[in-house]
Symmetry: D2
Subunit: 347 residues, 4 copies
Amino acid sequence: MAGSSLGNFFKVTTWGESHGKSVGVIVDGCPAGLSLSEEDIQVYLDRRRPGTGKLVTARQEKDEAQIMSGIFEGKTTGTPICILIWNQDSRSSDYSQIAFCYRPGHADYTFDAKYGFRDYRGGGRQSGRETVGRVAGGAVAMKILKELGIDVAVRVTEIGGRAIGPGERIEEAVQVEEGNSLGGIVECRVNGLPAGLGAPVFDKLDAKLAQAVMSIGAVKGVEFGDGFAAAKSTGQENNDAFFLGEHGIEKETNHAGGVLGGISDGSELILRAAVKPTPSIGLPQRTVNREGKAVTLRIRGRHDAVIVPRAAVVIQSMTALVLTDLLLENMTVKMDSLKVFYGRAGG
Amino acid sequence: MAGSSLGNFFKVTTWGESHGKSVGVIVDGCPAGLSLSEEDIQVYLDRRRPGTGKLVTARQEKDEAQIMSGIFEGKTTGTPICILIWNQDSRSSDYSQIAFCYRPGHADYTFDAKYGFRDYRGGGRQSGRETVGRVAGGAVAMKILKELGIDVAVRVTEIGGRAIGPGERIEEAVQVEEGNSLGGIVECRVNGLPAGLGAPVFDKLDAKLAQAVMSIGAVKGVEFGDGFAAAKSTGQENNDAFFLGEHGIEKETNHAGGVLGGISDGSELILRAAVKPTPSIGLPQRTVNREGKAVTLRIRGRHDAVIVPRAAVVIQSMTALVLTDLLLENMTVKMDSLKVFYGRAGG
Amino acid sequence: MAGSSLGNFFKVTTWGESHGKSVGVIVDGCPAGLSLSEEDIQVYLDRRRPGTGKLVTARQEKDEAQIMSGIFEGKTTGTPICILIWNQDSRSSDYSQIAFCYRPGHADYTFDAKYGFRDYRGGGRQSGRETVGRVAGGAVAMKILKELGIDVAVRVTEIGGRAIGPGERIEEAVQVEEGNSLGGIVECRVNGLPAGLGAPVFDKLDAKLAQAVMSIGAVKGVEFGDGFAAAKSTGQENNDAFFLGEHGIEKETNHAGGVLGGISDGSELILRAAVKPTPSIGLPQRTVNREGKAVTLRIRGRHDAVIVPRAAVVIQSMTALVLTDLLLENMTVKMDSLKVFYGRAGG
Amino acid sequence: MAGSSLGNFFKVTTWGESHGKSVGVIVDGCPAGLSLSEEDIQVYLDRRRPGTGKLVTARQEKDEAQIMSGIFEGKTTGTPICILIWNQDSRSSDYSQIAFCYRPGHADYTFDAKYGFRDYRGGGRQSGRETVGRVAGGAVAMKILKELGIDVAVRVTEIGGRAIGPGERIEEAVQVEEGNSLGGIVECRVNGLPAGLGAPVFDKLDAKLAQAVMSIGAVKGVEFGDGFAAAKSTGQENNDAFFLGEHGIEKETNHAGGVLGGISDGSELILRAAVKPTPSIGLPQRTVNREGKAVTLRIRGRHDAVIVPRAAVVIQSMTALVLTDLLLENMTVKMDSLKVFYGRAGG
C-alpha cells in the first residue's frame, strides 16, 4: 500500500528524501477560501530547521516554501496545494561511509530487507528531512485551526529524564556527553477544540493521533491524559466528574486528556510522545555491513545531540493534520446538518 | 468518514452495539485457500467473554460465531467472510438509569455531542461488546499468522501498579476495593515476524499498530520496545548493535522492540498498552444529566472490576489484524516480485 | 485490495454469495437521525426479486431485510447499519452440472484463474444474488435523497434493440426465443440534485457513477447525457447555452446530462447503461471443463430471459449510493461552511 | 473527500492548474528496482503536447519532466516518485474575457457553485493541463507493464462520426468548420494481460477502468467489448465459447472485451471511450455572467478543433495506471502465494 498519504478529507501526501532534488507535500481537500501565503508555511519550516546552538546539526538548509498550486489571489481554491522545498545542502560525499554498513538505531537494515536496496545518501526517505513535507502540510492545517479558534501548543517537558520547566532553555538545562545524544518527552495541548471530533471505533480521535504521532521516526510511545499512569490508578480516581460550567457541560478533572470513547469532549486535549535519543552518535558502535561482516562505526560530521525540540514542531504538525481531517468529518454526521446545508431544514 | 473499517488489503468492518440484534465483522481481502472453521473463531471469542471469577461482569453471552459467507468446503474463497454473533443477554431495563445522565469516563456525553442523541442501552456502540467483531476478525488473522509461523502472544504484566509475573493468577494477586476498579498494562510480543513489514512514512508498522491498539476504548497509551523509558536514555544506551547471528543479521539488544524506521527488523516485536480502570464502578459519582442538572450516579449491576485480561485478547486481535494487512502489502513492493509472480523472472 | 466496499463518507460493504447462509450489507457513515425501518428497505428488495412472469427465473426468495444494528427508536444513530437477508432457496444439487465446466459469459473461469478455485454453487460471489446487499444499502441512500428532495428514477428504454416506451409492458413488447436471452438499455434520471456534487479530478461525479454502475455484473457500457452520440457532434451542437431561469442559472439544453467538469450543474442528471443478455441460456453451448476438455453445456433450470428490469433497480441503487456519498463530501469544501458549522461565522 | 488521488497500491496524486507555477504527480507505491529515467516520461508528455498541425492549439509548453524523488542510481527505490513539470506559457491576460462569464460546456459554473469562486485563468484545475500529471504517472505504469510483457495501445477510430482507419492521418481525413470542433472515439486494446486482474464486486477491472477513463474531462461514455451493441444482441450471440488453445483456455470470440465478472480472462482487453467535441469554440455562444446577465461569448485565441488525439494518450495513461494497481492487488489473494513469498511453501 502506498503509505505516503495521511487523512481522508484533509489529506497530505509527502514526497522526498534527504538527497533528492526536493521534498514537499500535496495538501488535498483543503477547504476553499482560506487565506494562505508562503509566509504562513515558512514560520513552521523555520521552527523545524536546525538552529545554531551547540546541540543541533550544522547542516543548513534555507527551506523556503514555494506554493506550486491551489492558491488564487491569496486564497485556497479547494484544489490540491503543492508545496515544494528544494534540497540544497546535500553533500553526498559525506555519506559514503554509511553506504555499506547498517547504522544501529536507523532503518538502513530494514529498508534493505524490504526493498532489496536503499538510497543510502543521508538516510534517504528515512531521513528526518522527510518531515519537511509534514510540517509544510501541518502549517496549512494550523491556519485552518486558528481561524476556528483552536490552539495547538507543544512543549518539551523532559530531556534525558530531566524535567524541563515552561520557558526553561534546553541548552542551559541539559548536558550531553560529547558524541552522545539524549531523548525526551514532548507534550501537546490543544485548546478550543469542539466536542464531537473522532469516530467511535477504529477512527477514534486518540487512535488517529496515535498513528500520526507514532509515524514520526523518533517516537516510541504515545499517551493521552494520564496515559500510562492511568494503568496504576482506580476507576474512582481516574473518572472525571461532569458538572455544568459556564461553557456548558464540563469536567472537574481531566484524567482522560480531552477524549472519551475516542471522541473529543470539549476539554483540553493532552497528548505526550516519547522521543528516543538520536541514533546518529559520534561514539564508536558495533555493527555489520551488508555482507554481515562486523565493523566498528563512528559517525562523522555533526548531528543533533538532542532532536527533541525539532521533533516538537513535527508533533504539532501531525496533531494539526489529524484534527483538521476530523473537523471536516464531523460536519457530515447528522441528518439535520444535511438538511440545513442543502436548504431542506424544514423538510 | 465511515470509521468502522480497518486495513487496506486485509480489511475488517465491524457492526453492532450492546443491544442491537447482533454484532459481527466482515473480513474482506482474506487470501483464498485458508482452512477456516467456526471453531477457529470460537476459541478467541471464548477468551474475550466474561469469566466466572470475582473480578468480572456476570453478564453471560454464549457468543457463538456463525460464518455467513466466504467459505466453501472448509476453505476461504477470497470473498468477504461475514461472521455474526447474536446478542442474547440484553435486558434493556437494566439501563434505564443511564439513559439521561452522563456516566463519568464513558462516551455518553461525547456521543450526544457528536450525533445529537445516542443508543443508551448498555453503552450502544461504545460498549465493550463492539470488540466481539474485532476478536472474530482477529481470529482469522491469527490463523493466517500461524500458518506463516508467526506467534502473537499477550500477557497482563501489571494491575493497579502491581507487577504480575508470568503464570501468576490475577485474581489471587490483586485486591480491588468493593465497587471500585483497577487498570493495568498488557504486553504483546510477536515472534517469527519477517523483516520488512510496514512502510517508511505514515504507514509505519508501529504507527499502524498504535492506531489499532489505541482504538480499543480502554487504552490510553501505547509504546514499543523501551517506549517511554527510551526518552530517559542516551543514544549509546538505546542503539541496538547489529551482528551476524545464526538466522542472519540480528541485534545484540532489542531496545527498539523489533521495529526500525517503521519497518520490522526480524527480531521480537514488543508492544505495551496502558489500560485504564473500568469507568463503570459501583461507588457514587458526581455527574450531570442531559440538561446539565447535577446528579449522583451509582451504577447498579455487576461490572468488571478488572477489564485488563479481557482487553488482552482484543489487543492480540488488533495486533494480528495489522500484521496480516502489512504482510500482504509487503508482497508487492519489489519489481522482482512482480516478475516472479507473473512469470517474467528472466525478462 | 479488499474490494467489497464502496464510498468514502457513506460507505457500503457487502457480503455473501449465492449459497452461503446469508447476504447483506453494512452501511457505515449514514448520518444520525434518519428515520429508517425494515419496510423502507423491503420495497427495493421486492423490486429486485424475480417476479412471476414468463421472462424471469422461477427461483423464489422472500428476501426479508433484517436490520441488525445502527437503529435506535426508529432512527439511525450514526453507527454502522447492518442489514441481513437469509438465503433460503439454495438447492445446491441444481448446480452440480457447472461445478467442473466454465459457463460462457460467466466468471467461472476468471474466478478459478484468480483464486485457484471457486464456490461453484450458483455462481458464488459472482451470482446476481450479490446485488441484494447493494439494493439494501441503496434503499438507505434513497431514503436520505428523498428527504433532501432528490428523485432517482430508472426506466428500461430498450430491449434487444427494440425501444420500450414509458409505461409499455416489457413482457408484451418483447419476444424471446425459447432458451435464449436479450440485453437492453436502462436509463437513470435524477432530479432535484444541487449543483456542486463531485470533485474536479479522479472523483468526478460521472467517474464515480461510471465505476458504481459498471461494477454491476451485466453492465458493459455507461454514458452520460448524449454520451456516445456526443462523439459524432460538433462543439456548437453539443455545448449547452446558459441562461437565467426561474431557479437561477440554467441551461437551454442538456447534452451534458447534468454534469460539467465532473461536477453536477443542477440540471437533470442523465445516465444510460448497456446491459448484456443473460449468459445463462438453455441452448447448447461449446465450452471446456477445468482440465480444458471440450464439453457441450446446456444450462438446466429456468433463468431470466431478460434480466434488464431486475438490473434497473440495482442501477438505481448504485446511483443513489454515489450521490449520497458525494452529498456528504460537498458539505466540507468551503472554509465558510466550517466557520458556520463551528460557530465562527463572524470569525 | 480529497479527490486528487487514484489507486490503492499504485497510487497517483496529481496537482496543478493551468496557471499555477507547475503541474505534476506523486507516484506512491511503485515497486522498487524499476529502471526509470526522465526520458521514459518525456516520451508520453511529448505525445500529449499540442502539435503543430491545423487542428490543435498554438499554446506551446516544452513540458519537461523533472523527477524530484524516488530514484537512486537510475532505479525506483519504492518511495514516492515526484514528477514536476513547470508551467511556462501562461499568459494570464488571454483569459480576462472568461473571468466573469460561464463558458458553455466548461466547468466554470460548477466550480463556482461548489467552491464559491474559481481560478479562472485558463480553466484552472479543470483545464486539460491537469492531465499532464496523469500522463507523467501513466508513463511510470507503462514502464512496469512493458517489463511484464503487457502492451497498451490506443487509437482514434472515429472523428465527428467518420471512421478513421488504422494509419489514416486525422488531419487529412477530417474537415472542421472554422471556429467549430469535433468529437470522436478512442479505442484502447491491451494485450499480454494475465487472467485474474480485478476483484469480484466494486473493484471490478472494468469498473475501475470506467472510473479512470470517465474522469478525463472530455469523456462522456465508456464501453467494453461489444459494449452498447451487446444490449441489442442475444445471449447466444454474445456468449464467447471457451476452447483449449495453444496458450491454455481461450475464447473463440471476444464479445466480452477481455473481462468476465470484472476479472481479466487473459484475452485482449478492449475499451472504447466517447470524447465530446472541445467546448472551446470560436463561434458566438449564448451564456451568462456570474450575476446571470446574458452575454454573447466568442472565445478568442486558438484552441484544439479536435482534442481526440491528445485525449488518446491520456486514456492510455489512465488504463495503464489501473492495470498496474490491479497487478499488485492480484499478488496477494492466495494463501499459497503468501506461503511461497514468506518461505513457508511446505508449511
